[in-house]
Symmetry: C2
């Protein structure tokens, strides 16, 4: 029982954390509950039930399946479902009519052939990456509706009425989802993508700002304290952000204009910035591994390059943070240019230092990578800046 | 029309490529078509139809929705769907009974409350990352079935029979999917994961084997030729392989024993190896950017370190490729140890060289990173080896 109690407490605290991390999750859950209860009214309320009959079930199904966390995903699924049902319904009626012309024996064979052909091609089409990203759900519904309509028509000759009913209930369910998700505390995929990109750039900035002092004062801290420093770990989430960014961008394309974003906002640009940010993060990953390496740096060597290196890293970090703020507020970056210029200057003076310096010690191996990666970062910062300006 | 024709040719060649890249896609499409046609028999065949009525529709739906590319995904979705329908059906009947006790007015209110409560909590539970990975679909079906059963029961007092029919048709559809996906040319997520990991390691190995000569003979090649070399680009796909690996591992957990894999094969190990491989790839990304940097390396400097560097890189590459083969054939790596030992030795001699070398030129900046990253690689190779042995 002791163990069980622990387990319960753990789950409770996890739940609380999940809600606090993003309160929109709680709101979203309430919204789904609300939409579902509303749609269930079709069953309760007699006159409506007489109109739609069992088809009202489709409204419930639509709500459950279509209602997603972000507006874009909900809209995308709703539009996919609506269009696919319409198209497949029409085709299904056509196939059914064609098959019924071929007599008692030919009909099931022909229908079976149509279903097989349609399911096979649609399933294959779903493998195209571009289509998978945007219309996967639509194709699924397309297969489903075609099979249901063409086959159920074999039993029921009121097929047109059935298709009409199903389509209208799906429309009702879908529009309930869309309206609720837009009107009540909307979660815009576009805005999420926007702040994710800004946050990622800021994380890299934080790392770089802290890196200089961290690296050169290494021996004074102990290992434990370093692991606690969140800003040094923050960049790790950037490394694997690709999937999240791409799905958000896909959702964002479905969204109408909202807030500071217009319809057809250049979401592709965000992906490009995201890719550059990730490349920068790869360099930082390499830098970070330097922090934890065992080999000691000779103090004399360290002193010589400490100033310029720290400056490069800090200025890079400042520039990135400035860019992040600029993206967030959608203004031109104010001081990023000067920070970049500062770090370029620092990199240059470091190069001269290295040219002139007569190194008699072996610990170059320890120091130079930091410098090189920092100069790599400069390139990346430049690229990022170019694109940030185009936003 | 010219443009239209081009478009058609392009789509045709894309389609052909998609099929040739992985012929299993074509087979999968045919399998879906077959399963769907088989299940449609329920509608054609009179006695069966009399037994199940409209509920046969659920078999069609189940096939369309559950049939996935890999066996693991199909099994996971099937089990999720079956269990969720069973549970939610039982709960829905209970809720319906409870509500019917409360009289004419109380019934719809109570039912609405139940649906709201259930939808809200289930939606929230779907946000837990662990549950999302494995039981997301089950929870969706849970919400759906509960709403349908508890609410439709308001109309139809034959609710138990309805639930029974629905469950059995879902079972029929689901088992048709599972049987077909296992018996006809199965695509095992586990085997896919296995070969993906091996392929990724091999890609890194290819890069490293080629890197040494590529880097040091740089000036002789022109830029264009270099971009064509596929082995230098191959590692890029490794960088973002995390999502694919994780979903495959999730699917693989559902699969029964097959081929050389037992049930409960340690798929987690693969994820660990994958993470290490990715860390190695980050280093390689940094190395790769060195290939394209503009600054020239002085020939004298290059000559001095060429031999050891090339050796390090090549030996690392060989070790990785050997590991990849070992994973593929599930044997102990035969020569990886000696290759690692060789490259460690090369790294040591390089360090001594650097210690003794009197560098009067400034292009250290160009040379050292390659060396450092190569030595980083050594660590990673060591880690990978440890885990590869545990397979």
């Amino acid at each position: 029982p002791e163990k069980f109690k622990d387990k319960v407490t753990e789950i409770a605290s996890n739940t609380k954390k999940l809600g606090q991390d993003d309160p929109r999750r709680v709101i979203h859950s309430l919204k789904v509950g609300l939409a579902l209860t509303l749609v269930s009214l079709f069953y309760y309320y007699q006159p409506l039930y007489n109109n739609f009959g069992v088809s009202a079930m489709w409204a419930v199904m639509t709500v459950v399946v279509v209602f997603e966390f972000t507006v874009g995903a909900t809209l995308g699924k709703g539009v996919n479902r609506g269009l696919a049902t319409l198209l497949a319904g029409a085709l299904g009626v056509g196939a059914h009519h064609l098959a019924s012309l071929s007599g008692q024996i030919g009909e099931p064979i022909l229908l079976g052939f149509f279903v097989f052909l349609q399911a096979t091609t649609s399933t294959f089409i779903r493998f195209f990456p571009k289509i998978k990203a945007r219309y996967d759900y639509g194709l699924l519904i397309f297969i489903l509706t075609f099979a249901l309509v063409s086959v159920s028509g074999y039993r029921d000759d009121e097929i047109l009425e059935l298709a009409h009913k199903r389509l209208s209930t799906i429309l009702i369910g879908g529009s309930a989802c869309v309206v609720l998700s837009i009107l009540v505390c909307p979660v815009w995929a576009g805005a999420d993508l926007h702040s994710l990109i800004a946050l990622n750039i800021e994380k890299l900035g934080n790392f770089l700002e802290g890196f200089g002092s961290e690296y050169f004062n290494k021996s004074e801290d102990d290992q434990e304290a370093k692991d606690d420093k969140a800003f040094l770990q923050g960049y790790k989430s950037v490394l694997n952000s690709k999937a999240a960014e791409e799905s958000l961008a896909n959702f964002a394309r479905w969204e109408p204009g909202h807030g500071r974003f217009q319809f057809r906002h250049p979401w592709i640009q965000y992906l490009k910035v995201g890719t550059l940010t990730r490349q920068c993060a790869y360099r930082i990953e390499a830098l970070h591994s330097r922090l934890n390496s065992d080999t000691q740096v000779l103090p004399e060597v360290r002193e010589k390059i400490q100033e310029t290196c720290t400056k490069m890293s800090t200025e890079c970090g400042k520039a990135l943070k400035d860019l992040a703020t600029a993206i967030r507020t959608m203004t031109k970056p104010s001081s990023a240019d000067s920070h970049v210029a500062n770090s370029t200057a620092a990199a240059k003076s470091l190069r001269t230092l290295l040219k002139s310096g007569i190194w008699e010690d072996a610990d170059l191996l320890q120091v130079i990578p930091a410098v090189t990666v920092a100069s790599l970062l400069l390139d990346v910062v430049n690229c990022t800046e170019k694109i940030a300006e185009s936003v």
